[in-house]
């Protein structure tokens, strides 16, 4: 087990290196001069050049990148150009709470919706339950999240007036208010993923229900719930752990759009703002943090997977 964990961690390191190099290079190639952005349109070429020299922008690419790595290791992501007097790290930290809550809530929504419906659908294979669930699921997969969000806002906030239109209340105002604000966004974000999970759960269940050990369990006279839960479901859930890890990526990306729909002041909206204001250090920082978080989550998922399934641990993959 220990060797397995070490192997996974070692495999994640080159990925992280390539990820951060990509992020650096991508924004290094950006047209437009950060010094010009800082000083504004009235700056003289001499002053711009002076600032470029001071910021190290005149150095060659690899020097700049090494310096960037050096700072990165100290947790220094540079200074934001558009958020007043904030380092990139501070600006992101201030906006992290709603995004993290939204993603976790959305994941919960998708699991609560997806896994049970997938099981029900698999058990009723070919019958009307299955047909209905699978049709709703493919609708859910095809539904653009932002359109779903706009519809929810129209029904629950504009017409019925039971939920707030948009915005966000921090946890410091009490978790109840926060949930009231996040319930629509979480459903918006989680539903498509829930539909995907339902399809996956269904196929995993069908796979395990056809296995010999399930037939053996039936043959020795176990009742249906016991066969389904103890034998089929437990084995079907193992691959689902991986799917949950992959879901995080989709949800973190989708959070950007959902935050925009519901005006939630999270990291996603910060990213859109930063792009609009050409605040490249901030864009760089956000993209990097999200990508690194995703690598870490998948590392964690791989390790959990190894704990759950000894076959994976021993394979050389």
């Amino acid at each position: 087990m220990f060797r397995y964990v070490i192997r996974r961690v070692l495999a994640a390191i080159p990925v992280m290196l390539i990820v951060s190099t990509t992020v650096f290079t991508l924004l290094y190639l950006t047209p437009g001069d950060p010094a010009g952005v800082i000083l504004g349109p009235d700056a003289t070429p001499e002053r711009i050049n002076e600032l470029r020299e001071r910021l190290g922008l005149n150095d060659p690419w690899h020097i700049q990148m090494l310096r960037w790595y050096g700072k990165l290791l100290q947790g220094d992501l540079g200074n934001s150009l558009s958020v007043n007097n904030r380092t990139v790290a501070q600006a992101i930290a201030e906006r992290a709470e709603p995004t993290i809550l939204l993603t976790v809530l959305a994941l919960t929504v998708s699991l609560v919706i997806g896994v049970p419906t997938g099981i029900v659908s698999a058990l009723g294979r070919g019958r009307w339950v299955d047909t209905v669930v699978m049709f709703v699921a493919i609708m859910g997969v095809s539904m653009p999240t932002f359109w779903l969000g706009l519809n929810l806002i129209y029904v629950f906030a504009v017409s019925l007036r039971v939920l707030p239109l948009a915005g966000y209340q921090g946890l410091d105002q009490g978790p109840q208010e926060t949930i009231r604000y996040l319930i629509m966004p979480a459903i918006t974000l989680g539903l498509a993923q829930g539909a995907l999970l339902a399809r996956m759960t269904r196929s995993m269940m069908l796979e395990t229900l056809g296995e010999d050990y399930v037939r053996t369990a039936r043959a020795k006279g176990l009742n249906q719930p016991s066969v389904v839960i103890r034998h089929a479901l437990r084995n079907a859930l193992i691959p689902l752990v991986t799917v949950v890890g992959l879901s995080f990526a989709v949800l973190m990306g989708g959070a950007v759009i959902t935050e925009q729909v519901f005006n939630i002041p999270g990291v996603g909206r910060l990213l859109i703002q930063a792009i609009g204001r050409r605040d490249y250090p901030l864009v760089q920082g956000i993209v990097l943090i999200i990508a690194l978080m995703y690598v870490l989550i998948n590392l964690l998922v791989d390790i959990v997977y190894g704990i759950l399934d000894p076959r994976i641990r021993q394979s050389r993959a």
Binding site: R202, I272, A317
Partner: protein, 318 residues
């Protein structure tokens, strides 16, 4: 490990739709003539439905000049927020079938026109993903030396959530349709390459490939003549899903205001505009959203259907 993930994922996706209602076209037990792909396709209800939807959208995009009754980009300030089915006030003429938006532009004509960008991006992205993904996947699957390097790079590209990577690329390149195609192609290529690679890995070990090697056939010829044709089924299926993802991706980027530039009507951008006037003019969000959803649904149904039909394992099970 990652490879196992993708393989099991594609498999499970295949099985997920195996028992869709329309996916059971066989008449088990009865003697039947050998069915062509077309025979089976026509009996597959959801595949036919998906194909019809796609055909409809393509027709709308091609016939846009005939179908629109207003200039999709013309802002008429005096007819802002006209309700659906209201008559235009002079000097403008014609009925606003689906109403007008916040600038007085005709929603119906914009939705019709918007189909063009969606299909253009979908087509552009799926073509470039198929070309790039096939090259990378074949090289990685065929040459063991390249495999590790190429797949590490693909892994790191997949380490970015798709939307985030696309946003980062768009922020560097600026809004334009070409850049949307570029960004979404970069996002979708790794997954496609992985699928191709996994198929090539299994094909490489087969005896007829070995035989070809023994006969001194060149690597390039083996790849093109013996391996590529056998990769086609999964490639077609994946390409359909890439198309669907690209249509959604374009809409998402345009919704965020960094995709298609404002002067070209697109569904995502219309929804972005509609968001700000939801209470005053809810009709501005209905049509573009519905058009988007129906298009993506059609593509997904088609993809599911083709997968059921092309997968020999599923075919035998019936």
């Amino acid at each position: 490990m990652a490879q196992i993930q993708t393989q099991s994922q594609t498999q499970t996706q295949a099985q997920a739709s195996a028992a869709l209602p329309g996916a059971l076209p066989t008449t088990a037990g009865r003697i039947r003539r050998k069915q062509t792909f077309f025979d089976r396709f026509v009996r597959h209800r959801s595949a036919v439905l998906g194909a019809l939807v796609l055909l409809f959208v393509v027709l709308v995009a091609l016939l846009t000049p005939i179908l629109v009754n207003h200039d999709p980009t013309l802002a008429v300030p005096q007819s802002r927020f006209a309700r659906p089915l209201s008559e235009a006030t002079a000097p403008a003429t014609g009925t606003y079938i689906l109403g007008t938006d916040n600038l007085g532009r005709d929603v119906y004509s914009r939705v019709v026109k918007g189909s063009q960008v969606s299909l253009l991006v979908g087509l552009g992205v799926s073509l470039s993903v198929v070309i790039a993904g096939t090259c990378i996947g074949m090289l990685a699957g065929f040459f063991k030396r390249l495999d590790n390097v190429l797949m590490r790079v693909m892994d790191s590209m997949m380490a970015f959530p798709g939307v985030i990577l696309a946003l980062a690329i768009m922020s560097v390149r600026g809004p334009s349709v070409g850049n949307v195609i570029l960004a979404l192609s970069i996002v979708d290529t790794p997954r496609f390459a992985r699928v191709v690679r996994s198929v090539v890995l299994t094909l490489r070990e087969l005896q007829y490939v070995e035989a070809a090697h023994a006969l001194g056939v060149t690597n390039l010829r083996i790849m093109l003549r013996h391996i590529l044709p056998n990769c086609l089924s999964p490639m077609i299926v994946q390409a359909t899903f890439v198309f669907a993802a690209a249509v959604l991706g374009e809409a998402g980027l345009s919704f965020l205001g960094v995709g298609t530039p404002p002067e070209i009507p697109s569904w995502g951008q219309m929804l972005g505009d509609a968001r700000n006037f939801l209470a005053q003019a809810p009709w501005t969000m209905v049509a573009p959203g519905a058009a988007l959803m129906v298009t993506v649904l059609g593509l997904n149904l088609l993809g599911d259907g083709i997968r059921d039909l092309l997968d020999p394992r599923l075919r035998r099970q019936g």
